[in-house]
C-alpha cells in the first residue's frame, strides 16, 4: 500500500517535467534530497551527541578494562624487562644441558642491576608460578652475589649461590617466558601446563582445579535460574492478576528484599539454615528430625543454591510481571469461550505470550548468578564455591593477576557463547523487559 502511494506521488512530478528528470527542490531552493539528508544528519548528530557521554563512559569504564584484562592474560614481559640481558643471551641456547658461561654472566649482571633497582620481586613471583622455589632462588641469589665483581666463572658462582641454577628445567622456563607473551596462564586456567620439553600436557590429577569448577559453576547457575523461574512464575502471575491494591502490597514484599543489602540477606540465611539455626530448631522441636541428626543445609551447595535463588528471584519476577501485565485477559476468556480447558488455555494461549519475559528473566538471573562471588564465599562452604571465588582470590590474595584474567576471559567467552546459542534458539528480539 505504501508503494502505490509512493508511486502516485512521484508520477505527477515526472509528468510535469515532460519526462526530463529535474530534482525536487525544497522551499529554500536546495534539492529536496540534500535538504533531507542534511536534516537527517543534524538529527543523527544530535542523537550521537546525546549518547556520547554514555559511550565515553562505557569506553573508559567497561571496554578498556576488559581489553586490558584480556591483554594481561597473555602478557609476560617480566623476564624481558627485568632480566633483559639474560633474555637476549638465552636465545642462543638450544636447550641441551646447561647454557654457557655467557648466559650465566648475563643473569648475574641482571640480578645485580635488579637488586640495586629493587625490582626483582616481579620476575621472582612470575617465575615462581612456573617453577616452585624460583622466588627464593632469585631473591636469594641476588642478595648473595650483590658484592661479587668478576669471578672466574659466573656459572660456578651462581650454582653455588643456589642449586636451582644447575637445573636445565629452570633455564627452559626462563627462555620460554622471555618471549613477552605467554600461554601459560590460559593453560593453568584449563588445568594444563608446559612439559619440560615444551609440549602441552594436562596437570597431574593432584593439581587439577579449574575445569571441573567451571563446569560446576555453569551447572549451578543454570539450576539457580531454573529454580528462580519455578518460584518466580506463580508469584509474577499472582502479581499481574490480583486487583491493584493487593498486588501493590505483594509487590512491596518482592521489592523490600530486593532493596536490602546483599550481605544482610546472605547472613540471614546463615541464621536460618545453620545446624543450630531456626529451621533445624523447628524441625527438632516438631520431632521431625532427631537432635543428633540435624540437617546440614549451609556451607555446602544447598546453602549457595538457596541463598542465591532468594537473592536473584526479583530479577526473574520483575520482567515476568511486566510482560504478564501487558497480556490482555480477553485472550484467555476467548480461549475458554471456544471450549479450551483452563490448562489448555494457559498452555497454548497464555504461556507462549510470557516466553519473552521468561527469556529476559532467565538471561538476567543466569548472568548475575555466574558472576556472583560474595554469597558463595559466605554460605557455600567448599562444595558451594564458584569459579568467580578463584578469580577474586587470584586478584586479591595470590596476586596472580594473569591467571585471574585468563579465568575471567574464559568465563566471559563462555557466557557470550551461551548467549549466542540462546539467541539462535530463542532469538534476542523476543526478549522483553516490559
Amino acid at each position: 500500500m505504501s508503494d502505490s502511494m509512493h508511486g502516485s506521488h512521484a508520477n505527477p512530478s515526472n509528468a510535469g517535467d515532460n519526462g526530463v528528470k529535474a530534482p525536487l527542490v525544497a522551499a529554500d531552493g536546495r534539492p529536496l534530497k540534500v535538504s533531507l539528508r542534511r536534516a537527517l544528519f543534524k538529527n543523527k548528530l544530535r542523537a550521537i551527541l546525546l549518547v556520547a557521554p554514555l559511550m565515553l563512559f562505557l569506553l573508559v569504564a567497561f571496554i578498556l578494562p576488559i581489553f586490558s584484562m584480556l591483554t594481561r592474560s597473555v602478557e609476560s614481559n617480566e623476564v624481558r624487562t627485568i632480566l633483559p640481558t639474560t633474555a637476549l643471551a638465552i636465545q642462543a641456547w638450544e636447550g641441551d644441558g646447561l647454557p654457557d658461561e655467557q648466559v650465566f654472566a648475563a643473569l648475574a649482571y641482571d640480578l645485580q642491576e635488579g637488586q640495586r633497582n629493587r625490582n626483582l620481586g616481579r620476575v621472582a613471583s612470575r617465575l615462581n608460578y612456573e617453577f616452585s622455589g624460583m622466588r627464593s632462588t632469585i631473591t636469594g641469589t641476588a642478595r648473595r652475589i650483590s658484592n661479587i665483581d668478576s669471578p672466574d666463572s659466573w656459572k660456578e658462582t651462581l650454582m653455588e649461590a643456589h642449586r636451582n641454577w644447575g637445573n636445565p628445567d629452570v633455564w627452559t622456563v626462563i627462555k620460554r617466558e622471555s618471549r613477552g607473551y605467554t600461554l601459560s596462564y590460559y593453560l593453568a586456567a584449563l588445568d594444563m601446563r608446559f612439559d619440560t620439553d615444551g609440549s602441552i600436557v594436562r596437570q597431574p590429577e593432584s593439581r587439577r582445579v579449574y575445569v571441573d569448577l567451571m563446569i560446576k559453576t555453569l551447572w549451578m547457575s543454570i539450576l539457580i535460574t531454573f529454580l528462580c523461574f519455578l518460584l518466580g512464575y506463580p508469584v509474577a502471575f499472582l502479581l499481574a492478576s490480583l486487583p491493584m491494591r493487593t498486588s501493590s502490597l505483594l509487590m512491596m514484599l518482592v521489592l523490600l528484599p530486593f532493596w536490602t543489602s546483599l550481605l544482610v540477606r546472605t547472613t540471614t540465611w546463615i541464621a536460618i539454615l545453620q545446624s543450630q539455626g531456626i529451621l533445624n530448631n523447628m524441625l527438632v522441636a516438631l520431632g521431625i528430625i532427631d537432635d543428633q541428626a540435624r540437617l546440614r543445609m549451609i556451607y555446602n551447595e544447598i546453602g549457595t543454591i538457596v541463598a542465591m535463588t532468594h537473592i536473584l528471584l526479583p530479577f526473574m519476577i520483575l520482567p515476568l510481571y511486566s510482560v504478564m501485565k501487558s497480556i490482555s485477559p480477553s485472550y484467555m476468556r476467548a480461549a475458554r469461550s471456544m471450549g479450551a480447558t483452563g490448562f489448555t488455555a494457559f498452555r497454548r494461549v497464555y504461556f507462549p505470550q510470557t516466553v519473552p519475559g521468561i527469556g529476559a528473566g532467565a538471561i538476567l538471573v543466569f548472568i548475575l548468578a555466574i558472576g556472583y562471588y560474595i554469597t558463595p564465599a559466605l554460605v557455600g562452604g567448599e562444595s558451594g564455591r564458584f569459579i568467580t571465588n578463584f578469580i577474586a582470590y587470584h586478584m586479591q590474595v595470590s596476586l596472580n593477576w594473569g591467571l585471574a584474567a585468563a579465568i575471567a576471559s574464559i568465563l566471559l567467552g563462555l557466557v557470550i557463547t551461551l548467549y549466542l546459542i540462546y539467541n539462535k534458539l530463542v532469538g534476542s528480539d523476543s526478549l522483553k523487559l516490559g
Partner: protein, 366 residues
C-alpha cells in the same frame, strides 16, 4: 570547625617542644593507616592513635584492608597514586613488597626509638622482628580454639592431635581455607618432629602425608576465610574446634564471656607489623617512631592478647584494660603456652605457596 581544630592542634604543639611544632605542620593532613580491622584495629586505636592525636592533633584514618594489603599496595604503586601512609602487614607479604620495591627500606636504628635503658632498637626487638622494609609490632599466633561446652569436663582437648581425633573428640571442625598452618598441624599430629616439618613439606611424600592426615577429618571440616568467622562458628556451636588468630578467641573469651578454650600445643606463631609505602617515609616516620616505642608497644598488649615485639615492652605488659584481668597467661609467648610452638617459615611459604595452594584447592575439590 577544622580551623579551630587546627588551631588547637597548633597550640598543643607549641606547648610541647620544637620537634612537636615540626610535626604539627603535618597535622594538617590526616594519616591513612591500613590495618586488619576488628579487635585488632581497636587495640591499635587505643594504644597508638588516640595518644598520637592527643599529642599532635593529627587525625588517624583507619582503613581495614590489610587482608588484601599487598594487592592494594601494588595497585596503588602501579597507578602512581599511593594514598596509604602506613600499612600493617605480615612479614611474608612485606618481603614480597620489599623485593618489588613497593615499600621503603628502613634504617631501624635511625627511625625507631631506643629502649628506655638506651638499648638501640636493632637490639631491643626480638630476633627476626626487623626486616629490611619491616618493623614488627606484635607476635601473634595461629591456634585451634574449641568450645568447652561441647566436650565433657573430664575430656577436654589439649593437643593438636586431638583435633584430628574424631573418635574421642567428635564434632565439626573449622579450619582456614588455605594450606598454611593446616599442613604443618597435620604433620605434627601425624607424629613428625617440629624441626622436620618444613623439610618434609618441601618433598612430595611430605605433602601427600599431610593431605592424607587431613583426609581423615575432611568430611568434618567447615573452611573459613574471614578472621571473624571462627569465633562466630564456635559461639553458634556450629563447630567444636576452630583454628583462629589467638587474639580473636581471647576477645570472645573475655569481652563476650564465651566458653572457649585454646589448644596452645603446636601453635604456629608469626609476627605482624608496619611497612611504609613507597614515598611515604616523610609523612609516616613520626607516627612510626611513636607507635613502636616501648611504652606504646606494651600498651597495645593491654587491649589484645598479642605479645609485644620489643623485649623492653614485654617486661612491662600490664592488665587487660577493659576487664582488668592479667594478660600474662593469654599471651602466645607465655612460657607454658610457648613450649611446643612452631615458628612459621616465611621463606618456605614464599617459595611453595603458589604450588601448594593449587594442590590444596585440588585436594579440597576431590
Amino acid at each position: 570547625m577544622t580551623k579551630t581544630f587546627h588551631k588547637s592542634a597548633l597550640s598543643i604543639a607549641v606547648a610541647f617542644s620544637a620537634t612537636a611544632i615540626f610535626s604539627s605542620a603535618q597535622a594538617m593532613e590526616p594519616l591513612n593507616v591500613v590495618s586488619w580491622g576488628g579487635a585488632y584495629t581497636m587495640s591499635q586505636e587505643e594504644a597508638y592513635s588516640k595518644p598520637w592525636t592527643e599529642k599532635t592533633g593529627q587525625r588517624i584514618i583507619n582503613i581495614d584492608r590489610s587482608a588484601t594489603g599487598l594487592a592494594g599496595l601494588r595497585a596503588q604503586v602501579e597507578a602512581g597514586n599511593v594514598t596509604w601512609d602506613l600499612v600493617d602487614m605480615l612479614p611474608a607479604d612485606a618481603k614480597i613488597a620489599c623485593a618489588e620495591g613497593l615499600i621503603e627500606v628502613l634504617n631501624h636504628d635511625e627511625l625507631l626509638s631506643p629502649a628506655p635503658d638506651g638499648t638501640p632498637a636493632s637490639e631491643d626487638f626480638i630476633p627476626g622482628a626487623l626486616d629490611e622494609c619491616f618493623v614488627a609490632t606484635i607476635v601473634y599466633s595461629n591456634i585451634v580454639g574449641f568450645n568447652t561446652e561441647m566436650f565433657p569436663e573430664d575430656n577436654q582437648p589439649s593437643t593438636i592431635a586431638d583435633v584430628f581425633d574424631l573418635e574421642n573428640f567428635p564434632g565439626m571442625r573449622s579450619l582456614q581455607r588455605r594450606p598454611i598452618n593446616n599442613l604443618e598441624w597435620a604433620l605434627i599430629a601425624d607424629g613428625v618432629a617440629h624441626d622436620d616439618v618444613y623439610d618434609l613439606l618441601a618433598t612430595e611424600e611430605g605433602v601427600e602425608r599431610a593431605l592424607a592426615k587431613l583426609d581423615t577429618i575432611k568430611d568434618h571440616v567447615i573452611w573459613w576465610s574471614e578472621g571473624a568467622q571462627p569465633p562466630q562458628l564456635l559461639a553458634d556451636k556450629e563447630v567444636a574446634f576452630a583454628s583462629a588468630y589467638n587474639g580473636r578467641i581471647f576477645d570472645a573469651q573475655v569481652n563476650e564471656n564465651q566458653p572457649f578454650g585454646i589448644i596452645w600445643d603446636a601453635q604456629v606463631f608469626e609476627l605482624d607489623g608496619w611497612v611504609v609505602p613507597k614515598g611515604k617515609l616523610d609523612v609516616a616516620k613520626d607516627f612510626l617512631r611513636f607507635s613502636t616505642d616501648t611504652e606504646r608497644n606494651a600498651a597495645q598488649a593491654s587491649y589484645i592478647s598479642y605479645g609485644p615485639a620489643r623485649m623492653s615492652a614485654a617486661e612491662i605488659v600490664g592488665n587487660h584494660i577493659p576487664t582488668g584481668i592479667d594478660m600474662t597467661p593469654h599471651m602466645p609467648t607465655y612460657e607454658p603456652n610457648f613450649a611446643t610452638a612452631l615458628p612459621k617459615d616465611d621463606d618456605f611459604w614464599a617459595d611453595y605457596q603458589d604450588e601448594l595452594n593449587e594442590r590444596f584447592d585440588a585436594w579440597l575439590a576431590r
